[in-house]
Symmetry: C2
Subunit: 341 residues, 2 copies
DNA sequence: GGGTGCAGTTAAAACGTTTTAATGGTCACA
DNA sequence: TGTGACCATTAAAACGTTTTAACTGCACCC
């Protein structure tokens, strides 16, 4: 009997509980939320009524009253996510797992909003009190929509637009790590491949690359490839570059989808990796590890990053003050077969 | 001006829109939802009022009235997920991505409930109108909780308990695929490693393994390892088996975390893979691909499986009739270095 | 005895939407 | 002219909480 609810029966409400316990609904609410003192004996009566009726609070009603959804949303910038396909999803999912765990430890659920054609529809149908935005582009459609909704937003990775806060992804250090590594293993002629989108980390990578190239006397070559062309686009671009520059002995390809494309081009050209050409990429995900040889990459410690971002967002949602900028653990180089023989 | 909302300003409601458009709130609701006919001219007035005020419907209020949260939850059986760590998360995340996409295409968001200590608290604070349950164990704590809440539940993988429906993960075919493959590449003495938990797919794997072993005259050996001991437990168990059975020339290890543990044991024993011992696992995820040599595994087509499950669940939520059992695309063997030289 | 303060409780309002039943108007048909 | 059907609209109720302000007793203090 007790605790059981028959199928189809209407769920018990706070008034049912109140009636059974012989108190008013307000007292039940106070007893359950603990917001006000309730007599010990009354509380006991309420508790047993709750158990007997199998009462579960109606979240929608609570949300309407309190104005909170107990939910945060994780968005990924549409364009790239689609373009980079599974790789970007890996990146996103790694963040999602950690963010969900952190959020739930604070009694908030994470809703996952994958890249989708119509961001506006997604926003409209999903209740949430805060948003996590993964590496937004300069003109990210979500930025405007979230701003219009006046909802706290935390970006993962440096953001151009107006966000409440952002967690650093250490673009500069990551770039330096990879560039210095390529130099250390002896590469002296390696181009940088980046996408054409307005991503902050492209800008940073390019800046560091050019600076370092100038220092060591390397002629810089920056190949820009539309992200939407995926692996194939990168392969074509690299093939062209190899033909024009046979002295090439390395490739710096931050976007992993483009990195595997580049590997394909190298195979076609009959060049050995890492013997003749060394290759390094940024995100140490499935693509990087599944390539043969596996690609040297960087451990961005996304779980820590996501936890930091989530906690910051929840602080904001709860109305606490919060810094506008959070540092991340320093990225660590993960050396693999593609740069060491 | 239009479409702009100043920060801190209270959000416009349907009443504000109604007043501005000179109609009643009910008409606004009808115009927006399209549930009833509304004169073309009034609809236009309402639309422009909506734009001017930057009106966004309050989901909580709508949810309270309609009884729908526009949300489904994805749960993963607690014990295993924790035990198998990142590998299980990979599995879960692959499903999550596809489920989220499918759900969103039907205007429903996916909330991600990662393995957590207190499942009951998770359930209480998260509003959802349906649940997706990944490979529940026989006594899965979520099963009871979801049943008590009387919420439609769809399991991914055969389920023991009471769920509204389940989508097959083709345990038998998967087992056959792997067993036959090991036999085909010449293995004649390979034990089966499985966990101790009450998972349906352990039972099926064991049954098929014993049957096939009897057919080909192989002495069956089933090693059961507590999932909670992870890689190390599997490594110890395999080391022991190898010492007692030097004739071992293969390993069938469905759980990928245990498979990588087994690989470690083989390395320690100085046995070459695939030369002396062939290894096969089930889930073709990061662990399988990142191992050296990469592990032969099975493509379970989780994206299709997740999409099927999600659509079934949403049908149930919308009150449609729905089959209790869905087939999945047949699993395909992915042959890798661990079984072919 | 009249005020003050406190602790526990309550009645009623409020949150913002959807839905129901009722309303007035127009049109076609007898 | 009356009758019914239909259409667009509306007023009001309903959803299930939380919160506010009021209200009890009751003890304590001048």
């Amino acid at each position: 009997m007790s605790g059981q609810v028959k199928t189809g029966q209407k769920r018990a409400t706070v008034v049912d509980v109140a009636r059974l316990a012989g108190v008013s609904p307000g007292t039940v609410s106070n007893a359950l939320s603990g917001k006000r003192r309730v007599d010990e004996e009354t509380r006991a009566r309420i508790d047993s009524a709750v158990r007997e009726l199998g009462y579960v609070p109606n979240m929608a009603a609570r949300g309407m009253r309190t104005g909170r959804a107990n939910t945060i949303a994780l968005f990924s910038s549409m364009a790239t996510a689609v373009a980079a396909g599974p790789s970007k999803l890996g990146f996103l999912m790694e963040i999602a797992g950690s963010a969900a765990l952190t959020a739930l430890s604070r009694n908030v659920a994470l809703v996952l909003v994958p890249p989708i054609r119509d961001p506006e529809a997604a926003l409209r149908n999903v209740p949430f009190d805060g948003a996590l935005l993964v590496e937004p582009t300069r003109d990210d459609p979500f930025l405007a929509l979230l701003a219009a909704r006046d909802v706290p937003t935390v970006a993962i990775g440096e953001a151009h637009g107006a966000v409440s806060a952002h967690v650093d992804l250490n673009y500069a250090q990551t770039a330096d790590l990879l560039i210095d590594h390529l130099l250390n293993v002896g590469s002296r002629n390696f181009p940088l491949l980046i996408g054409t989108g307005a991503r902050r980390y492209y800008e940073v990578f390019e800046a560091r690359y050019r600076q370092r190239a100038a220092q060591v006397g390397m002629t810089p070559a920056v190949l820009r490839i539309d992200e939407a062309e995926g692996e194939a686009g990168a392969a074509r671009s690299v093939a062209r570059h190899l033909a024009a520059h046979p002295e090439t002995d390395g490739l710096l390809v931050p976007l992993d989808a483009q990195a595997t494309g580049a590997m394909e081009a190298l195979r076609q050209a009959g060049l050995s990796v890492p013997g003749e050409v060394r290759v390094a990429t940024r995100y140490d995900g499935l693509r990087a590890r599944a390539e043969t040889p596996a690609l040297t990459a960087v451990d961005l410690q996304l779980d820590t990053v996501a936890a930091t971002a989530t906690n910051a967002l929840l602080d904001l949602v709860e109305g606490m003050e919060c810094r506008a900028h959070f540092a991340s653990p320093l990225p660590r180089l993960v050396v693999r077969g593609s740069t060491e023989g």
